[in-house]
């Protein structure tokens, strides 16, 4: 069974998903960070494939993307870095990125590589649902890779129902109309949105992302969904880290309130 599916069968709440950018701060930090997250108790890890034009991302992740590219990071190199991480690394792994580098690598070749190294799912925000369904769904399924879709406060209920129908694993619930790292905290308006989605009784669990940065926001988000995703706040941790493994461990523990 896919490790993401398995995770949500076993764990129904307080699922912590952490995003980081591959090849950042240093080119070879990818696996160091991955190991530290696995050991410190992150439930799910989202590895960002750096891109020159990340239009859904704010300054923090844009900067990490640019540094990683300047370090020489590429899709090809990421698969080399991830080769052999299983079975030592247990945590389910998502790759997050923009569609163009994946298209250039070749969709089928990309999914095949994901399966080989033990990646479980993909988040490709600028891959439209209809293009996925028409052209790529069969390929993803062939290699056992889940495609994670996003919903936002502006997504219509009809579309949410459709996304729920074609989703497996979980749905990425963007907490507000924004790019990553733009806002912090959770407002009453956002809580109303979370409640509205909960009332829809979707078949897929949701993880809330954007604006989650610490124990308070993680706990609040987790009370409205299966868990939450931290991105920009974690990038800041690795940017300022003196000892990557120790600082990551401390951050994850603090978010989980341990």
């Amino acid at each position: 069974m896919n490790r993401i599916t398995q995770l949500f069968e076993q764990k129904k709440n307080n699922v912590l998903n952490i995003y980081f950018t591959a090849g950042y701060p240093q080119l070879n930090d990818t696996t160091t960070i991955l190991k530290a997250l696995d050991e410190s108790g992150a439930d799910l890890v989202e590895i960002g494939m750096p891109y020159s034009d990340p239009i859904a991302d704010g300054e923090t992740i844009q900067h990490a993307n640019q540094v990683a590219l300047d370090n020489g990071m590429s899709v090809k190199l990421l698969f080399e870095q991830l080769a052999g991480i299983r079975p030592a690394i247990k945590v389910p792994i998502l790759l997050m990125g923009y569609i163009n580098p994946v298209l250039q690598f070749g969709i089928e070749e990309f999914c095949k590589k994901c399966q080989e190294v033990g990646v479980d799912g993909l988040i490709l925000p600028d891959l439209p649902a209809d293009v996925f369904e028409e052209n790529y769904k069969v390929i993803f399924e062939k290699y056992g890779i889940l495609n994670i879709f996003l919903i936002t406060p502006q997504t219509s209920e009809t579309r949410i129902s459709h996304i729920d129908a074609i989703s497996e694993g979980f749905i990425y619930m963007v907490s507000s109309a924004s790019i990553t790292g733009a806002k912090s905290g959770i407002s009453d308006e956002q809580e109303a949105y979370f409640s509205r989605i909960n009332a829809m009784s979707l078949k897929n669990p949701r993880l809330i992302g954007f604006g989650i940065s610490d124990n308070a926001t993680f706990t609040k988000a987790s009370s409205h969904a299966a868990g939450a995703i931290i991105g920009s706040a974690f990038i800041k941790v690795v940017t300022e880290a003196k000892d990557l493994s120790a600082d990551i461990n401390a951050f994850v523990k603090s978010v989980k309130g341990e």
Partner: protein, 395 residues
């Protein structure tokens, strides 16, 4: 046999294999709203009347189709210049911004965001926002802010807020990224006026329709002057390709008219400093559509170079990618040097200082090989006032 349908957008938003709407979910409702409404709004007689009246009385249309006699003599053929440089604000860009601002008002939006390269689209956007009482924010690459200072001043005087795009190459591509991010952050009350035939469907088609007034006028003006609606060639420069889309639009179906696109060759296509997308690019996705794109093997977008800020873009509109792919249009890569030379030449031969962008179209005359009995229309997309500092460096 060809049909217009073959070169125009299909129901799914594609030109052949190019186009589509590759956008994050955050933009989906906005783009969907546009897609569901743009045709009914544009085709509404009341909208048309308002749009046409503004083009006539505010922009100064129709723009002249001028027989450039001395230039014709130099190339031993017959050359007409479509004088988009005489539009209010100094370039064709205003045709599109008037159309989109009217459309935004009908969608109930009160704020406009736009990107700009040379500043012409930014000025045209700031202008219509002033005219229609809309709030206006323009993103412009930090480098472009420096090299196009007069246009920055104009935007500010018109009441727009100019924000510097500081990421990546700090030019048009990055200004577009930041404008899209702004739209993601303000999805309800803001309309994004894209300045070229790029972006997710329906933008390429919508912008091409607003610019199609250029070829509509060329047809009847040429008929008046020569007794035939169709020239042998229509030449236009292509960055994203909005003036070319407008100049080509009503000729797409007319196989007897050769469409000619002049891309920015920069220092030369093999120099590493170029923006000649069809020569250096391959299919890929940027800014919401699948098109031809300058990129690395890893799919990272390459930073382009052109002396002309308006052509300094690593992609082209999906319509042009399709015209290239089907060989309906012939593409030339014009170097910075050739464009400068053509700009100086037109100034001295005809008393018209062209924008550096338009100078690329003029330079294509050198390579075209038009015959004495043939007729060429060059779309003179903008005037050169904004480029004087660059021209002076090379005088």
């Amino acid at each position: 046999m060809t049909t217009a349908q073959q070169y125009n957008v299909n129901e799914k938003g594609y030109y052949g294999e190019f186009g589509g709407a590759f956008i994050p979910e955050m933009l989906y409702p906005n783009v969907e709203e546009l897609k569901n409404n743009y045709l009914s709004i544009i085709n509404d007689p009341a909208f048309k009347a308002e749009f046409d009246a503004l083009l006539k009385d505010y922009v100064g249309r129709p723009t002249p189709l001028f027989l450039a006699e001395r230039l014709s003599e130099k190339y031993n053929t017959t050359i007409y210049l479509k004088r988009e440089d005489l539009c209010h604000t100094g370039a064709h860009k205003v045709n599109n911004t008037i159309g989109q601002a009217l459309l935004a008002k009908r969608l109930g939006k009160r704020r406009i965001v736009a990107e700009t390269g040379a500043g012409q689209h930014g000025v045209a956007t700031a202008t219509v926002c002033a005219l229609m009482g809309l709030e206006c924010i323009v993103y412009m690459g930090e480098i472009d802010i420096e090299r196009q200072a007069p246009n920055v001043a104009r935007m500010k005087m018109l009441g727009a807020e100019v924000r510097a795009a500081k990421s990546g190459s700090k030019t048009l591509k990055d200004a577009t990224n930041d404008a899209m991010r702004h739209w993601i952050n303000n999805p309800v009350d803001t309309h994004y006026i894209i300045g070229s035939v790029v972006g997710p469907h329906p933008y390429p088609d919508m912008v091409a329709r607003f610019q199609s007034i250029i070829s509509e006028e060329i047809k009847w003006q040429l008929q008046e002057k020569t007794g035939t609606t169709n020239p042998d060639y229509v030449i236009a420069c292509v960055g994203g390709g909005s003036n070319a889309a407008g100049a080509f639009y009503h000729f797409l179906d007319d196989a007897q008219t050769q469409l000619v696109a002049a891309e920015a060759g920069g220092h030369g296509i093999s120099s590493g400093f170029s923006a000649a997308t069809t020569f250096l690019g391959k299919p890929g996705v940027l800014h919401g559509s699948r098109s031809i794109l300058m990129q690395t093997e890893d799919g990272q977008v390459v930073e382009p170079h052109s002396i002309s800020a308006g052509l300094d873009y690593p992609g082209i509109g999906p319509m042009h990618a399709h015209l290239f792919d089907t060989k309906r249009a012939k593409f030339f890569a014009i170097t910075d040097e050739a464009a400068l030379k053509a700009g100086f030449q037109l100034s001295k031969l005809e008393g018209i200082i062209p924008a550096l962008e338009s100078a690329h179209a003029l330079a294509a005359l050198e390579e075209l090989g038009a015959q004495p009995n043939e007729t060429v229309v060059v779309n003179l997309s903008g005037r050169g006032d904004k480029d004087l500092a660059t021209y002076m460096k090379h005088l």
